[in-house]
């Protein structure tokens, strides 16, 4: 006798998403539900509303459940408007490494939306944000990655930011980057790590071109 059964009735839905109307106001209210499941579904369903970024960003600031925060980041990535992008970028300034790293992963996945704000991020006054931006470039599908990295090593005064950019250029740089790399070596002639990594990058570029 087999003990396999088939579902006799739809699974019971409890403590979650069906308690309020699924319109914008209902879903926005649901973001304050005491149940994380209900909040996650509200976050997902809000993607259908173009004006949703503001309420999602507001919720992100106070949300304590990691799974709901994850859902908010994904929904913001799908919305991709200015408010959503500002919300994601704000996470780069968070003291919480898990939120920051998750935001970096999400931003890497949306090159069309991230592309237009990269220059601003690379000129941010906070050097950590500039480094995290280079972390985003590390696998951003965008044709300007090399140019952005070149602009970093041409202009940034912070040695750690430049070092991060050189490390990535050693993997993805072409002949185009050679002059900028040599200039950087001169600019930071007293920084042994920069000199070492520039030499390594130049060697790798040279090897790769042949």
């Amino acid at each position: 006798m087999m003990a396999f059964i088939k579902q006799q009735a739809p699974q019971e839905v409890s403590e979650d998403e069906r308690t309020t109307a699924r319109d914008f106001h209902g879903l926005s209210a649901e973001l304050n539900s005491e149940h994380a499941t209900a909040r996650r579904w509200a976050v997902r369903d809000l993607v259908s509303f173009p004006q949703a970024s503001e309420v999602l960003v507001a919720r992100l600031k106070i949300e304590e459940d990691a799974s709901v925060r994850t859902a908010i980041l994904s929904s913001l990535a799908q919305l991709g408007d200015k408010t959503a992008m500002n919300g994601l970028v704000t996470c780069l300034r968070s003291d919480e490494a898990s939120l920051r790293n998750e935001a970096i992963e999400v931003l890497k996945a949306i090159p069309d939306e991230v592309g237009p704000i990269i220059n601003a991020l690379l000129n941010d006054s906070d050097s950590d944000v500039r480094i995290f931006t280079i972390n985003i470039l590390e696998s951003l599908r965008h044709e300007h990655v090399e140019q952005w990295l070149m602009s970093v090593i041409d202009n940034d005064d912070q040695v750690n930011v430049c070092a991060t950019a050189v490390d990535l250029l050693s993997e993805v740089g072409s002949e185009l980057s050679v002059q900028s790399l040599m200039n950087l070596k001169q600019r930071f002639a007293n920084e042994p790590y920069i000199c070492f990594s520039v030499d390594l990058a130049l060697k790798r570029i040279q090897q790769g071109e042949h």
Binding site: A3, Q7, H35, A36, T70, V106, V145, G208
Partner: protein
Amino acid sequence: MTSITISEEDFSKFKEFFYRKTGMQFENSKRYFVDKRLIERIEATNSGSFRSYFVMLRFETTGEELQKLVNLMTVNETYFFREEYQFKCLVDSILPEIVRKKTDDSPIRIWSVPSSSGEEAYSIAIYLLEHWSGIDRWDVEIISSDIDTEIISQAKKGHYSPRSVQNLPDKILHKYFTYKNEGYQICRDLQQAVEFTRVNIMEPLEVRSYRNMDVIFCRNLLIYFDDVSRRYAAEMFFDAMKAGGFVCLGHSESMSRISSLFRVCKFPEAIVYQKPLESR
């Protein structure tokens, strides 16, 4: 004859990149397999060298080339008892753990997605009957879903080519199948054991009724998704599962590269991913 070569360093770089993007990992023993396909794509795209190709692969805006490479690197073929170690893990580790924590007599729910032509879902049913004593004590629901209605019809019919069943021991083959029309027809009891449904796992409205799953098998599907979709699918699974439930991915896939929602569980037979018990 091609003059393009893949150096040790190229292979390491590629391996790391490909893992990051798809969660797929290649052992060094797969070197020949990977090199051959890489060279094929380097030539097809007129890239000239590994480095040029690799840069293009990393930064092309459409992601098309990566998808082509993924298709080449995966063997999209399904058959009975494929990656059998995960079924062993199901009966020897996962189900005992689930049963130990169960507080009621509700059925154990297993979701196999995508169903493809049904081999995985039927393999699960056979494995439970053959190797899990708990089947006498617990009711089990096996639900198997796919986006493709034609493949679901095929799964429901349960008629398979000799190639599909070639991994099955003779004893199992004779017990659950009959030879018919140059293939093997699965028995009626097993056909009735699995509920096949159509679902697009990227569509919230469709997935919403899939819930309280104890185990989800989702093998070799997410590798075909882009990063955002992969995250989204992982989040959908999270809500489709009971707290403490398990997700089994393909042997070359890794949830850790997709989402931080799940806990890695290293069982003796396989690595699987658990929705934390404390999840809400």
